[in-house]
C-alpha cells in the first residue's frame, strides 16, 4: 500500500462554470467546501435564534461574535470595529473551513496558497487603501519609527518598507504551510498504521499502535492549529489595520 499524502490536496473540478480567456472556470471540490463553510457560518449565525436566554447554538454564535469583537477592540481599538464584518468573515471562514478540513476525506480550502494569498492580499490592500484614504501621506509615517538616530534611519526605513510589503507573504504562507504540513503529517502517520498492518501482518497491526497513538495526538494538535491559525490570521489582520487607523503608533 502506497501512502500518497499529497492526494488530499488535489483540486477536482465538479462541473465547468465558464471560461475567462483560455482559463476554464470550474466549480471544484474547493468551491464545494467554500460553499459548505459559508452555509455553516450563515446557518450558525442566522438560524440560532435571538432569545434573551440563549440556547447552545445561539451561545456559539454569540461567543464567536464577542470573541472577534474583543480581539478587534484589544488590538485596533474601538475604531477597528469598522472592520468587524471583514475580520469576522475572515476568522469564521478560515476557522470553519479548517475545522471541516480536519474531518477525514474532506478538503481543506486553506491548504492552497492561492486562497490564503488572495485573503492576505485582500487585507493588505484594505490596509493600504484605507490607510491612505484616511490619513493621506501621514499613513507612510509607519515606515519612520520614532526615536531612531538619523544616520541609521534610511536602513530602518528600508527594513520597515520591506517588512510592510512582505506582510501578505508571511500572512498567507503561515496559514497555508500550517494547514498543508499538518495534513501531510496526519496522512503520513495514519498511513503508517495501514502500511505496517498490510505488509507485516499481525505483528504489523500490533506495531501500528504507536503511529496510531501519534495520529490521535496529532489530530488533537491539528484541531488546535485549525482554530489557532484562523485566530492568528484574524489578529494579524487587526494589527495591520491598526496601522491604517492609528499610523502614529
Amino acid at each position: 500500500m502506497k501512502i500518497d499524502p499529497i492526494h488530499q490536496f488535489n483540486i477536482e473540478p465538479l462541473f465547468t462554470l465558464g471560461h475567462i480567456g483560455n482559463q476554464t472556470i470550474a466549480f471544484t471540490n474547493s468551491s464545494l467546501y467554500m460553499l459548505i463553510a459559508v452555509a455553516i457560518i450563515s446557518l450558525l449565525m442566522l438560524a440560532s435564534g435571538a432569545q434573551l436566554v440563549p440556547g447552545r447554538l445561539q451561545s456559539v454564535a454569540e461567543i464567536s461574535y464577542e470573541f472577534v469583537a474583543s480581539t478587534i477592540r484589544s488590538t485596533a481599538g474601538s475604531e477597528g470595529m469598522k472592520f468587524f464584518p471583514l475580520i469576522f468573515s475572515l476568522f469564521m471562514f478560515i476557522c470553519v473551513s479548517n475545522l471541516i478540513g480536519i474531518i477525514p476525506y474532506t478538503f481543506t480550502i486553506s491548504s492552497h496558497l492561492i486562497v490564503t494569498a488572495a485573503l492576505a492580499l485582500l487585507v493588505f490592500f484594505t490596509v493600504l487603501i484605507y490607510g491612505v484614504a484616511k490619513n493621506g501621506l501621514k499613513f507612510f509615517s509607519i515606515f519612520v519609527p520614532h526615536g531612531v538616530p538619523g544616520y541609521i534611519l534610511p536602513l530602518v526605513m528600508f527594513i520597515e518598507v520591506l517588512s510592510f510589503f512582505l506582510r501578505p507573504v508571511s500572512h498567507s504562507v503561515r496559514l497555508f504551510a500550517n494547514m498543508l504540513a499538518g495534513h501531510i503529517a496526519l496522512k503520513v502517520f495514519a498511513g503508517f498504521v495501514a502500511m505496517l498492518g498490510f505488509s507485516l501482518g499481525a505483528l504489523g497491526w500490533v506495531g501500528g499502535v504507536l503511529p496510531l497513538a501519534l495520529t490521535v495526538a496529532l489530530y488533537a494538535l491539528e484541531i488546535l492549529v485549525a482554530f489557532l491559525q484562523a485566530y492568528v490570521f484574524a489578529i494579524l489582520t487587526c494589527i495591520y489595520l491598526n496601522d491604517a487607523i492609528h499610523p502614529g503608533h
Binding site: 502506497k2 500518497d4 499529497i6 492526494h7 490536496f9 488535489n10 483540486i11 477536482e12 473540478p13 465538479l14 462541473f15 465547468t16 462554470l17 475567462i20 482559463q23 476554464t24 472556470i25 470550474a26 466549480f27 471544484t28 474547493s30 468551491s31 467554500m34 460553499l35 463553510a37 459559508v38 457560518i41 450563515s42 449565525m45 442566522l46 440560532s48 435571538a50 432569545q51 434573551l52 440563549p54 445561539q58 454564535a61 454569540e62 461574535y65 464577542e66 468587524f84 464584518p85 471583514l86 469576522f88 468573515s89 469564521m92 471562514f93 480550502i109 491548504s111 492552497h112 496558497l113 492561492i114 486562497v115 488572495a118 485573503l119 485582500l122 497555508f176 498543508l180
Partner: protein, 188 residues
Amino acid sequence: MAESHGGAKGPAAAAHTEADGGHHGGGFPPFESSTYASQLVSLGIFFVVLYVVVSKLALPKVGGAIEARQNKIEGDLAEAQKLKDQSEAALKAYESELAAARARAQAIGNESRDKANAQADAERKALEEQLAAKLAGAEKTIASTRATAMSNVRAIAADSAAQIVQQLTGVVPDAASVNAAVDASLKG
C-alpha cells in the same frame, strides 16, 4: 510541474483522478497554476456572499440580541435598585411615622395627666374651702351657743342663788344684789 499533467485537470478527468491518485504523484496541487482561476473565482464569489451575509444579517442580528440582553439586564438592575430605594424610603417613612406617633402618644399622655392633676387640685381646693367655711360656721355656732349657754347659766345661777338665800334666810333677796353677787362669783 503543472504542465506535465495539465490534461488531468480538465473537468472530464474528475472521476478518473479519484480512482488513480498516483497520477498526481509528481505534481504538487497547491502549485498547479491551472486551478488558480477556478479557486479565485469561487473564493471571490463565496467570500463576497459571506461578507454580505455577515455584515447585513448575521452581525446585526447577533449583536442586537446581545445588546437587547444587556439592556434588559441593565433595565432589570435599575428596576431592582428603584424598588429597593422605594422600600427603603417606605421603611424610613414608617419609622419616622412611628416615632411621631410615639411622641404624640407621649404628649397626649402628659397632657391628660396634667389636666387630671389640675382638675384634682382644683376639686381638692374647692372641697377644702367648703370644709373651711363649714368649719368656720360650726365654730361660730358653737361660740354663739356657748355665749347663750353662759348667759342662761347666769340667770339660772341668779335664780338658784335667790332660791338658796330664800331657803336659808326666808327672806327674798334683792334681785340687784343677787345679780351682783352672781356676777362677782362668775368673775371670781
